[in-house]
Symmetry: C2
Subunit: 348 residues, 2 copies
């Protein structure tokens, strides 16, 4: 298992949509953790190019994360009404609104790519691929990791043949990885989710969500994780592709919230004007709304306007530090060791 | 400090509204943890009687938890509309609806009692008492612990003179302890909240929310808590006053959710018919709605109807075990030690 061979039990979160770069992936793997490359929102060709770029920088194992396409059909009227609302807002405030699109994020071609030219780990977000898909990737030599947010998803992932469960708590920045997005879905904090899965599942667990410090990593290990997956903690690294306005927001103490306002799927970001204005009205419509807001967000990033950017961040984002990824890996590991020692003395 | 003298870093959550008993409080203190007695919903006289009952069972330190009264005035029309809704539901389903009442939960007389005849620790929920109140309790010989749910509340509690901060994560069963209840208030998972407070606050921290196992306790210690506060974990103990229907629900794997349906203040309970039916329509109106639903809930408890009871429970309630409180304390501590040892080997 890839987890057995890591020098430090740290996994980079995929960080689709900007922060993910081959340089960041390679740096985490080179430092003894497991780097991940996001293929979400990218074509299979770009994914292939980035995989090549990682391989040029490192010969260590790394993973590629793929979005499972959603075959639900959102109500076109709800999408149109929300788009009208955003257009009115953009007309006043400045910005371009896009057209809703339905894509499968180049699913078939990414699977072809990853079976023809396998990487160490393929992880999935937003669903549970079929047993056939999972078996074909395993037959090609990859481990398959599935991201789950509740005990039912964990059981389904195990049934489909997952090698590892990435347990995502509510604290996590970016999209909730839930297999579906619907109102009233249970939302577990990381600590509760891991305690439950440690009792019910025998697959190795990777903990994801709000792990911002080595102490947080130590905590995740205590509740049964084999490694902690950190995303926000690496977003200020020079190797990350995080935009300047996003970096500035990460350093602030502003609260985060869950919202569908930007993409039509529940995601955690730092509260800003766009989120406060539109969250209550956003329908469940992914990836349609992603495309509706994409031009607006791109323009806002270019002009440094944090009020209209999806500022994905975990709940403890203010603890992120600006330092090279290799240093971050070493520092998280050292701090985790120290936290475990100190805690042991509290309960002797 | 009381925390320094605990044989095991385990604090009993107050568990107002039924599960709290002098027997449970005494058993946890006798086992080397810190027992807490809930005074919420009780008169000062009943609180005094229960304090006496604890003292007859144990000479160890214990704490009393007090609800800080809310001086906001909810919209009477919203309360009346919600009450009409519940009356229609109760007419169909069976059950008595009460009158909305405004009380301060016998605040002044409880403070008189606790300054005249102090206990080791007085903790507060639902607000930050004035500096004068805190100083008078400290002058009487008690430590004052304030329950906080976000970094701003932590800073306010420190400013008011708290000795210890009880950091409550979103995973916690029962009421959110937030100083106010309003829409859009930030909700932190325990792991994220503790990592942040460990950096920003120098007061001792007690971790509360979803700590259902010794592994969870170990995790809380790693992120800087001096002790873990467990509530749901003790609700199946024979010493607890938990109703039979509530006990049965705790053993199930049914999800929890946050709701204002029962009391007008946000609280986490196991999802049931009442919650699913009314949560979306419940206004912020505490304690008014508590009194509106109290007769209905009492009747439901008596006839064992879990569909109409406020089944307060933390996110990991299915891990609770039916065993004497002293055994639970010892088992949590032993499991925490083991989790710390095992984790240390993962990161050597």
């Amino acid at each position: 298992m890839v987890l057995d061979d890591l020098a430090v039990p740290i996994v980079l979160a995929p960080l689709a949509g900007g922060p993910s770069t081959p340089e960041l992936t390679a740096a985490v793997s080179e430092a003894g953790g497991l780097g991940f490359l996001a293929s979400g929102y990218l074509s299979a060709e770009t994914t292939r190019d980035r995989i090549e770029a990682v391989r040029e920088l490192s010969s260590r194992p790394f993973g590629v994360n793929v979005f499972v396409p959603d075959d639900s059909s959102p109500d076109p009227q709800a999408v149109a009404a929300y788009r009208d609302r955003l257009r009115a807002w953009a007309d006043q405030r400045g910005g371009t609104i896009g057209e809703p699109q339905t894509t499968d994020d180049d699913w078939d071609r990414k699977l072809e790519l990853l079976t023809a030219d396998p990487v160490s780990v393929v992880s999935f977000t937003f669903g549970c691929p079929s047993r056939e898909v999972i078996e074909s990737l395993k037959a090609a030599g990859s481990e398959v990791w599935l991201t789950v947010t509740n005990p039912d998803e964990a059981a389904e992932a195990r049934g489909a043949g997952a090698d590892v469960l990435v347990a995502q708590g509510a604290e996590a920045g970016g999209h909730r990885a839930s297999f579906v997005d619907r109102p009233g879905l249970p939302v577990y904090g990381l600590l509760a989710l891991l305690q439950i899965l440690a009792r019910t599942e025998s697959l190795p667990l990777v903990a994801s969500g709000g792990i911002a410090t080595g102490a947080g990593l130590a905590a995740a290990l205590c509740v049964g994780a084999r490694a902690g997956q950190c995303g926000t903690a690496f977003m200020l690294c020079p190797e990350a592709g995080t935009s300047p306005a996003h970096r500035e927001a990460l350093r602030s103490g502003t609260d985060t919230a869950l919202t569908r306002a930007f993409t039509g799927r529940l995601a955690r970001g730092i509260r800003n004007e766009f989120m406060d204005e539109h969250s209550d009205r956003a329908p469940i419509a992914y990836p349609q709304l992603h495309y509706v807001t994409a031009p607006l967000r791109k323009e806002a990033r270019e002009r440094g306007d944090a009020g209209a950017i999806n500022l994905w961040a975990g709940e403890a984002h203010q603890l992120a530090e600006e330092r090279p990824a290799a240093e971050m890996v070493q520092s998280l590991a050292a701090e985790a060791r120290e936290a475990l020692e100190t805690s042991r003395r509290l309960i002797d």
